[in-house]
């Protein structure tokens, strides 16, 4: 056996000593998690008040940090995230029954509120969570645009405005990091490679509930005074900030632990859980997008956790990592932040690129063009993106001698990125374009990503960056990448995989209305934002010179058009989910594995592990000879090789 497969259906049962943890542990869910989280936070608050010196300089920050950590730990305990380890310490092990219970067997909709190890449940949980986070970030974007509709702080004061931009930034970053990998990396990817679950199902559940745990301190930031440093929270400004900054640091660090755990899980799943015959040049391109992104995140995200830990230490323990009068420097923060910050752009982008390429082959009815080149491009992006971070620091004065080298690496990265367009055009070329909703997003992606990419080239040029850095030009550029490209990839993925996740089509007509509103809104908002930036408007300002009033007003109108489109999209998702048109098993006649299993997907995906004899892109090609007769058409529509059957029987 060359690949690890969960072949034995029933592992040897450990001696049955009552279901592990008895009835109590089975009763844990989101509600008990919240209760335990609040309780432990209260205990932490009381303890820190009674034990710490309330006259100390750092008292408030110490209390806030300990309290929010108390919430995170309490929530995870209360939802049952540590049931496995706790039982292990008590000398028990989970029985097969317990495992099935954890996977949500026979629990119905209740399993979505529980610590559930089924990757499909986790995928749906991520899907809903992503929508909530992006919606919260979107509301903040509207509040920002209301403020900027006219110059002169006419809506809120600068302190509230600064909280808006910081929270908008971090919520959108969190939402976009999980937007494609969370729902589809979890739900779809394991099935795509013929696995029955992720490599570490419990870690999978843990990564999702850590995200929920992180969301609470992040949203609590508003309640405890906001943050006034943007999501990049540059020190030393962030060292001086209110206790909102402590909530931010604990929340973001928790989120980074979540992405790290998820990243380990995805990479391991991709390496070890591929079914027989699923060679590295046969896996669907989407899985390459998710895996390269996860691997890059493993490298990049911990820098931010380190940076935030040092920040908390400066704030609550009186160290001076970032304080010049204590021997520290703001350049340390900037380096750590961008060592994360640039790769993170590609962590967000790569899964969306994978999804767009996957959609393009299905809806052009053609093989993916240049598979090897694309995979090479993705790996090249991962490698190069680790050595470009200081292009965000051209104007800091940190290392002027390195400006040239970092300009070189940044311009090199345009080569592997350009491969995406070659693959997309090559795949669409001579295609039989099936103009359904997902394909629309492919074309939208192409349009926006060209603009986002080209405007990035200006910023890679040091002298131009000296003018543009810190202006709305930069903001418009990365919104073309994040909204115009990543969000379009994500919405395309939603339209494409919705039938597999819910059994229903995403309503085509409403979906198109949403698409066109968002597409038009993006052009209006961000083209005019480019102009504001070129005219000299700094970013993160609550007011601006009168000369930029027109372009800002246009941006505000465009932003509301985007919001209208997104509300229609959300409405379409909810109504289609409840009462959409039945789609059946494989409405898109795709050749990837996830479409070959029944809908709804059975608990362990495949009754017998499939055996794969070619890549899933054989459109227009004579079907390869069957290796073995088809198994059970309904249960396992994928042809099962004789070898796998023998293995199962032995």
């Amino acid at each position: 056996m060359t690949t690890t497969m969960p072949t034995a259906p029933a592992p040897a049962q450990p001696a049955h000593r009552g279901s592990a943890g008895g009835g109590l542990m089975r009763r844990l869910n989101f509600g008990t998690g919240v209760l335990a989280g609040v309780a432990l936070a209260a205990v932490a608050w009381l303890l820190s008040h009674s034990l710490l010196d309330s006259a100390g300089t750092f008292f408030q920050d110490q209390v806030a940090t300990i309290t929010f950590i108390g919430w995170v730990v309490g929530f995870l305990l209360g939802i049952g995230a540590f049931n496995g380890p706790i039982n292990w310490f008590r000398g028990r092990d989970l029985t097969h029954d317990d495992e099935l219970y954890l996977a949500g067997k026979d629990l119905g909709p209740r399993r979505y509120w529980k610590f559930c190890t089924d990757h499909k449940v986790v995928g749906v949980q991520y899907f809903v969570m992503t929508m909530i986070v992006l919606f919260a970030g979107g509301v903040l974007a509207m509040l920002i645009r209301i403020q900027l509709a006219r110059p002169g702080d006419h809506f809120v004061n600068p302190q509230i405005y600064n909280a808006f931009i910081g929270m908008h930034g971090i919520l959108m970053i969190v939402g976009l990091i999980v937007a494609v990998s969370g729902p589809f990396g979890n739900f779809i990817m394991p099935i795509m490679i013929g696995a029955r679950d992720m490599a570490f199902p419990r870690l999978n559940a843990l990564s999702f509930w850590l995200l929920v745990a992180a969301a609470v301190p992040l949203l609590a930031v508003f309640a405890v005074g906001g943050i006034s440093d943007g999501w990049s929270t540059y020190a030393p400004l962030s060292v001086q900030d209110h206790v909102g900054m402590d909530a931010f640091a604990v929340g973001v660090t928790t989120f980074i632990i979540s992405t790290t755990i998820a990243g380990v899980n995805m990479v391991t799943t991709f390496i070890t859980m591929r079914t027989k015959g699923m060679k590295l040049d046969r896996v669907p391109i989407f899985t390459w997008g998710v895996t390269t992104s996860a691997a890059l995140g493993l490298y990049a995200m911990p820098f931010f956790a380190v940076a935030l830990t040092l920040l908390l230490s400066d704030r609550a323990l009186g160290t001076s990592f970032y304080l010049s009068f204590g021997g520290g420097t703001d350049w340390l923060w900037e380096n750590l932040f961008w060592l994360m910050g640039h790769p993170e752009v590609y962590v967000i982008l790569l899964p969306a690129v994978g999804a767009v390429l996957e959609i393009a082959t299905v809806f052009a009815r053609k093989p993916l063009f240049g598979y090897n080149v694309v995979v090479g491009g993705m790996i090249g992006i991962v490698g190069l993106s680790t050595i470009v971070w200081a292009h965000h620091m051209f104007t800091t004065g940190w290392a002027p001698a390195l400006n040239g080298p970092f300009m070189l690496t940044t311009e090199l990265i345009s080569i592997p990125t350009g491969v995406v367009f070659l693959a997309l055009l090559g795949t669409i070329w001579q295609g039989r374009l099936w103009t359904r909703l997902p394909l629309l997003y492919v074309f939208g992606f192409v349009w926006n990503f060209i603009i986002g990419g080209v405007t990035g080239i200006y910023l890679s040029d040091v002298p131009v960056d000296n003018q543009m850095h810190g202006t709305m030009f930069v903001v418009a550029h990365f919104h073309y990448v994040f909204v115009g490209s990543v969000l379009f990839g994500a919405l395309g993925a939603v339209a494409f995989w919705f039938p597999k996740m819910t059994g229903k089509y995403l309503d085509e007509r409403m979906g198109r209305v949403a698409f066109w509103l968002v597409f038009a809104g993006v052009q209006v908002t961000f083209i005019s934002m480019f102009i504001s930036g070129l005219m000299g408007m700094q970013r993160r300002v609550s007011s601006y010179a009168h000369a930029m009033a027109t372009t800002n007003f246009i941006s505000t109108i465009g932003a509301f058009v985007i919001m209208a489109g997104m509300i229609i999209e959300a409405y379409t998702i909810v109504t289609s989910w409840r009462s959409g048109r039945e789609a059946g098993r494989n409405p898109w006649r795709s050749k990837t594995l996830e479409w070959q299993v029944p809908t709804p997907v059975p608990l362990e995906n495949f009754e017998v592990p499939p055996v794969v004899t070619s890549d899933p892109y054989g459109y227009g090609e004579a079907a390869p000879p069957l290796e073995a007769p088809a198994g059970h058409p309904d249960a396992t529509p994928v042809t099962v090789g004789a070898a796998a059957k023998e293995e199962l029987q032995s």
Binding site: S228, T329, A364, I451
Partner: protein
């Protein structure tokens, strides 16, 4: 992947789907039109919306922006022309049944190599130009004959003329003379930006950073803080007055006397 989507596998079609003839003239025409529109747009829009240059640095920056835009125009337009052509000629239905499958193009080595070579050449061009512009910017510093200390703090800029007692929030500079700003901060990170001069450098607490410019015309120019520095970041602005050499001298003397 061997599939049994339908109960019995469909027998392989004897002929692979045929490619359709391509009207290259149409693609080239769309490409040329899109390129022309973009180039004209670049030439018209950028110099108008960007601030009128007030330094040699800013002049080079505007030239670079226009040059990069004009270079990118045919590249982006090529992708768009291909996408437009595909949408115009290869749409094949939007019903519930998929169209027949297309011709199985999996790769085209020469095309991939050409694509990679052209993008590499473009990257090299950008890099060479960028290094040249960077060297030109750095050369400005060599020509500096005067220094001004610029200090940021929440939320104002103060300028000190070394060797004099002059300290002001609205500095004067003589036109045509290269000046180096020694920039620092008293509290958090700020960024010293003279909008019309294309010069920007962060003001870091505990460090001194420098930026040099040669003002090329007389006028009042905007200084804006370009790094979020707290509550009134948006209002951390001032003006630099570029005047003739004689006016500058008399301003300096008046300031000295009143200091």
């Amino acid at each position: 992947m061997t599939l049994t989507d339908t109960p019995a596998p469909t027998p392989p079609s004897p002929e692979p789907p045929a490619a359709r003839p391509i009207r290259w003239k149409e693609i080239v025409a769309v490409w040329l039109v899109l390129t022309a529109i973009t180039v004209v747009g670049d030439l018209v829009v950028f110099p108008r919306v960007m601030p009128r240059s007030a330094s040699t640095t800013m002049h080079l920056t505007i030239v670079t922006v226009v040059l990069f835009s004009v270079t990118a125009a045919p590249v982006g337009s090529l992708v768009y022309a291909g996408a437009v052509y595909a949408l115009r000629h290869w749409r094949a239905g939007s019903g519930d049944e998929p169209p027949p499958e297309g011709p199985p193009y999996r790769k085209h080595n020469q095309l991939s190599i050409a694509w990679l070579s052209i993008s590499a050449m473009l990257a090299v061009f950008l890099l060479v130009w960028g290094l040249g512009a960077l060297a030109a910017d750095n050369a400005v510093a060599q020509k500096a004959t005067m220094t001004v200390d610029a200090t940021g703090q929440q939320w104002l800029w103060t300028f000190h003329y070394p060797g004099t007692k002059v300290t002001t929030e609205t500095p004067y500079l003589p036109v045509g003379r290269t000046v180096t700003f020694d920039v620092t901060s008293l509290d958090v990170t700020h960024s010293f930006w003279i909008v019309q001069m294309g010069a920007k450098i962060d003001a870091n607490p505990g460090e001194v950073t420098t930026v040099s410019v040669t003002p090329t015309r007389i006028g009042d120019f905007d200084v804006r803080c370009a790094e979020l520095c707290g509550l009134y970041h948006a209002f951390m602005t001032t003006q630099i007055h570029v005047v003739s050499a004689s006016q500058y001298q008399s301003w300096l003397q008046t300031q000295e006397l009143s200091a």
